[in-house]
Amino acid sequence: MVRRLLALFLVLSLGTGAFAQEGFTPSDPDRSATGGAQTLEDIMARQEQMRVDDSFRSDLTGDPDAAAPTTDQLGTRGGASDPDLWRGLRYDTADVTTQARGPAATTLIQDGGMRWVAFREGPVAVYGGYLLLATIALLALFYVIRGRIRIDGAKTGRTITRFQAVERFGHWLLAGSFILLGITGLISLFGRKAIAAFQSADNPENYERAREVYATLALGSKWIHNNVSWAFMIALVLIFVMWVWHNLPDRTDIKWLAQGGGIFTKHHPPAKKFNAGQKLIFWSVIVLGGSISASGLSLLFPFELPMFAVTFDKINALGIPGWFGFSPLDTALAPHEEMQYAQLWHAIVSFVLMAIIIAHIYIGSVGMEGAYDAMGSGEVEEQWAREHHSIWAEEVLAEKNAPPSAQATPAE
């Protein structure tokens, strides 16, 4: 289920790039007037963003089997003319040797670059930025309307242990690294736009200075982003192992959700250690955080871990693009196009998780009286626990207040 949802999300959010070229030109247009080369129709169709069947060019890269023996005149061409060779370069099928190393060094031409840049600087940055601002604005509005969620009943002055030190360690490793990654990621995406604000004809030195400062900032951000990612991944595993048991969905979640968590009614629906809202946070962190980690690794080790062509292939096999009336996703991706998709996916999913986490930070600090202590000292006010996690509180208190004889395991 989760995988299907993810696949759907992938189709929807990446659709713009993969489907930018809608429709095909007629399958076999008459190219006799150009001797089989491109026609004006081909060029016009491409300008209208239609997908042109290029096989009449891309397949025409010579025929080594038909090569004249090397002893003959022209024999060393290997059965390919100059135009054949250029077409091979254009479609990345030529046998290229380069001095630069690296898996993608021999791909000299690929198609995705400009589309990727436009999508990254355009919709990703714009809607991503608005998403974060809108989340903050909504939380501010919520604060104005609802105010801080207070502990309703009288405080007891007694506390119960909510999280052990190792759990709090895991949480703060996750939180510290995620916040650093979020900030440095945003610097990488928006930094160049931000320094452009310093550009002015009257004061060119200001701009120069801004560029100098940004160069250092960008370099530092990159170092932090690349290396702190490991702490995030370790923490993700720790948190998963420690908390997955308490986050399996059950019947209390349905009731909790049906009552909207009691956020506006001041009536507290019963909850175990984690309520349904928290379980949603947990699974968002695991699934989206996992996906961000996977695409991040793919970016960190360029060209080593391509994952989009295989994913698109699976999505096509399930027939998902067809549900939305799209043609199948392109699975013949150049190594660079794999990287472009990895970057877009990484950024889009990160924006979604950042928005979720901003809300989480709000409710875990200013938004709710008594919540922060759970991650601060690990000890929460008994009344807080009774109100927000009644079932869990009853269990813990029953255990705590039980006579010593009942606590010991009876000998059989």
Binding site: Q99, A100, R101, G102, F169, H171, L173, N227, A231, F301
Partner: protein, 43 residues
């Protein structure tokens, strides 16, 4: 509070460790992106 500070310290250690380790096993970008012949700085 102590768990939080400890976590932040651990985060720093992991980051520095990752940087050194990746360099050691040949994953620096100069190692990945160019052949030894064109690198002037490491003799």
């Amino acid at each position: 509070m102590k768990a939080m500070l400890l976590a932040f310290v651990a985060m720093g250690l992991v980051a520095v460790g990752a940087d050194l380790a990746l360099d050691q096993i040949g994953f620096s970008s100069s190692d990945r992106g160019s052949s030894g012949d064109v690198r002037l700085d490491d003799g």
